[in-house]
Amino acid sequence: MNRTVLLWMIIGWVGFMILPWYVIEDGFWGLEWLLDGYPLDTDYGPAWAQIMEGGKFWLSPFPLFLLLPLAVWGRAKSDPLYSLILLVSGTGGLGYLLLQAFTIGIAGWEFQVLETWYGVIDRQYGVGYGGLLVSASFLFMITQGIAARGVINGDVFVVSSIGLIVAIVGMFIFFPVSRIMLSALQNDEGLFSLLSFTTKISHFKIWGLGCLTSNVGCGVAWNSLFLAIVVGVTTTALGLVFALVATRSGFKHRKLLRALTVLPIITPPFVIGLSLILLFGVSGVVTQFVADLFGLVPGRWLYGMPGILLAQLLAFTPIAFLVMIGVVEGINPSVEEAAQTLRANRWKTFTTISLPLMRPGLANAFLLGFIESMADFGNPLVLGGDYDVLSTEIFFAIVGAQNDQGQAGVLALVLLGFTLSAFFIQRRWLGKKSYTTVTGKGDAGFHSILPDRVKWPIYSVAAGWTVFTLVIYCMIMFGGFVEIWGLDHSLTFKHYITAFSIEITEDGFLWTGSAWNSFWTTITIATVAAPLTAGLGLLTAYILVRQKFRGHDVFEFGTMLSFAIPGTVIGVSYILAFNVPPIELTGTAAILVLCFIFRNMPVGVRAGVAAMSQLDKSLDEASLTLGATSFYTFRKIILPLLRPAILAALVYSFVRAMTAISAVIFLVSAEYNMATSYIIGRVENNDYGLAIAYCSILILVMLSAVLLFQFFVSDRKATRRKTLPKTKTSTGFKESIA
């Protein structure tokens, strides 16, 4: 019998016979349940005990589905019955599992009509580890059944990966988001009404064009769209500038520059906004200086579009940089050399060869900048003035005085519409062209140095931006050491002491500082989430770039969806979806980790896709031809070549887990509080000193984490020869841009 089938069958039976079927209120890993009446206690029992003792008779069909795969014993994979049996077992089991989970809930029948038909039924709690293993078993029976039919060359690894990703993306993105989207279609009485939906979505507050004719603000949709386009274009341009400086210039302190561009990305929200206020606000240092110098009246220009734009550029340029650098590094110098050999000058080479080859990077960087700007919440909140944007409007539709979830759903739909359009436009622009530049063939030489015409403007932009960033960060560091930022600048350590004091007693260390609790939680959750996010993201990228299958585009769209939805919507929809059975997660650390994984996975996917579209398919084909499995190829060929993308994904997901706020604010609980939500509390209380002291510590932690990641995931080893070969051999010129 096929070993994989057998293994998943065993796993399924373990889930049914041994592990508790339902979720355990005081936690599974506390293992208290083992001593407290297991297995017959109805709170902790595995499925068989629930059927016998707990009266949960509706669980009894599962053994049937779990036994069914035994029928493939002795059958060849090519036997049509083989796949049919697995498919029946898997889809039947999983389908029934979902059916019973969604119809029988915490209060018995979920639907009134079922109760009138069948009478009262016992209630059930959320699915626990037992149910989880059984579901996994069914899922992989399905994928093996599909693979046995010859789909994707019968590759079990690829089919199973697709199955897994589809299942969890469905569970943790589509399911919760559909809950809140449905509320967009409901009217005030909770009934579905197309009329109220059309009135809401065409409201002048969303689409008004008053700003063109008078000084009344435009609709939030236009505001957000305009801002996001400007931010997307500018961050991409700046990201490209920094990537060029870091890889193609003789600039000596490139490493430093690289570290510096990462600074804004590791800065908790609000802080950039606050330091901008202290610099350029009405009473800001720069404003006052300029006003005194020229005798002007200090203006409020910072509050509104310019302020948000500035803060977002500071915050999101590094993301564009991280995407761009992988792509710029990956371009094969031999193509550029070929152009130069054909007598193109450096300018012509740059504009006709290098730049077009960077298109995947440019497109992905723009998309990320656009979406980040759309979903950003902290900066518009601090600097928005009367320039309303969708993300803050959604937040206040939910938590504000209106408490209008439907309105939030409508606004979320508009936002989603924009981000999805950007996504499709990006795909069209990239088209079907090939951007492969990393091939197995010997490629010679160095990247050409930038032409002067490009070099000097780029140097000055990079230098100016760097100085600006440095000033901002000096302001921030300074703010943690003064009594009251902006008022009393006498130096003090008191904020650090309040937050991070440690007492040494005979029992050891006593973490007495008020920030320690949230600090450790944040570190733990970020550490758990980062590798999972990166792994899932890259696996998805591999499937997207390398595998052709029906529904490919839908699959890609699904994995990008969570990124296009603002955190607030995700936060509320997670509460709506995961507070009640079948999946009970609120108040646990798991919901935070899951939220981070699915919020940040798209960055791993994008970075992976951008980097992977440069790898020549002949590399994996060679490996596959030599008899390696697709998993082995992924691990041994693709992954090592993807190091920059892995690094980007790891860094990004770790950092975002530590700095995200809008989704997190709904999901933190007393037990699992996060650093950002603690900081917001301090900011609300005007305790900037403490907030900034905490942020400074977080920045240091993240900086060391980034360096650590960089150390472990060193640069891609497939770099070119360090010296020019003595005799030049002509290399294949395959990398034409078709």
Binding site: R3, W8, I11, V23, D26, G27, W29, G30, G128, Y129, A136, F140, F157, L164, F204, N215, I277, G281, V282, S283, R300, Y303, L381, G384, F396, I398, V399, G400, A401, Q402, N403, Q405, I484, G486, L487, D488, S514, L532, G535, L536, L539, L576, N579, V580, L585, G587, T588, A590, V593, F631, Y632, I665, F666, S669, A670, E671, G681, E684, N685, N686
Partner: protein, 345 residues
């Protein structure tokens, strides 16, 4: 094949194993406490109660709007037990939507009338724990620098010389600003009240999202006059910022910070103990330790000399029942949106 199994099982295992590790050990008694006041006040209440009773308190602090959204979202499977603090309107709304339960404490005799009337308008599902009057605060340095007159009344704020110097929150997003709108409507009548809001609109430099943001901006010199609750203004002054608070001469409205027991609470007994604890005079007196200058609801609790005392302020007879109801709120907000917010400045 072996690897694929390995990878998939680790992936699946990891995604789920990290979770559910709630790991909490159920103590003998515990209380899930939602707090919507300032962080240090919330902590003080939690620690004090923990120390006195030995009951473990799990606190989570969020603004009153966020807490209301959370309780509503969790209503089918409540996680919280008691909700303490935050402006009264969301508490009233929670009562209206049946998210909270009624409770009559034995300490009612010690409470101020406004606290009890809050309870009365919600069938005892909520009760007042502190109160604060609405008003505004100004940055005295900026006022002098711009040669502006000192304001004393609501109507002073309409003067053209204050153009671009006044800030208030957006009533759509902030409970404070909604209280302002409702106060003006009750003070001047609806028609004249909206004329006032339209006049004020011309002087407003920005409608902030959060209720106390205008006075924080004023403290840092980013704004001159902020319409807020007076205790928020006093707090900035006590911190050392050049803020002077003004109780408007025409009279003003006020908020009642409230407390409610959540329906379906898992630790109802502990929640009721906390409820009684929070109404005690000695407990309410401790608010001064964290510079909370609201007026306590227990008549025996100590107040600060810096705090604006409600007796010296001309208070209107604020109708919490009417202006706290969702229907009236939606109507006023829509009217404000249509008639005031869309005006050119």
């Amino acid at each position: 094949m072996k690897y694929s199994v390995l990878l998939l099982s680790t992936a699946l295992g990891a995604v789920t194993a990290l979770g559910l590790s709630t790991g909490s050990v159920a103590a003998k008694g515990k209380l899930n406490y939602y707090c919507s006041a300032q962080e240090d006040w919330c902590q003080l209440m939690a620690k004090g109660f923990e120390k006195e009773t030995g009951i473990k308190v799990n606190m989570s602090r969020k603004s009153s709007g966020e807490t209301f959204a959370q309780i509503k979202a969790e209503s089918r499977n409540p996680k919280g037990d008691v909700w303490w603090g935050g402006t009264g309107d969301p508490h009233l709304q929670a009562a209206e939507e049946g998210l909270t339960v009624s409770y009559v404490s034995s300490l009612r005799g010690e409470l101020n009338d406004w606290s009890l009337s809050q309870a009365k308008s919600a069938d005892d599902k909520t009760i007042g724990i502190y109160s604060g009057a609405l008003g505004y605060g100004y940055n005295s340095d900026l006022l002098a620098k711009n040669n502006l007159p000192v304001p004393a009344c609501w109507k002073d704020l309409l003067k053209p010389e204050y153009k671009g110097h006044v800030q208030m929150a957006n009533p759509n997003s902030s409970g404070t600003a909604y209280t302002t709108l409702a106060t003006i409507v009750q003070l001047f009548g609806e028609e004249e009240g909206f004329e006032f809001m339209k006049g004020l609109h011309k002087n407003i430099n920005q409608y902030t999202k959060s209720g106390s943001a205008p006075i924080k901006a004023a403290a840092r010199g980013e704004n001159t006059i902020g319409i807020v609750f007076l205790h928020d203004a006093v707090k900035q002054a006590v911190k050392g910022f050049p803020i002077v608070s003004v109780a408007p001469c025409e009279g003003t409205g006020y908020e009642i910070g409230s407390m409610s027991l959540i329906k379906g609470a898992r630790n109802l007994k502990e929640a009721q103990m906390f409820y009684d604890y929070a109404l005690r005079a000695d407990v309410q007196s401790r608010a001064l330790e964290v510079k909370a200058f609201q007026v306590p609801s227990n008549m025996g609790a100590k107040t600060s000399s810096k705090a604006p005392s409600l007796s010296s302020i001309k208070l209107i007879n604020y109708d919490f029942g009417k202006y706290g109801s969702s229907a009236e709120r939606k109507r006023l907000l829509k009217k404000w949106d249509d008639e005031v917010k869309t005006l050119a400045k």
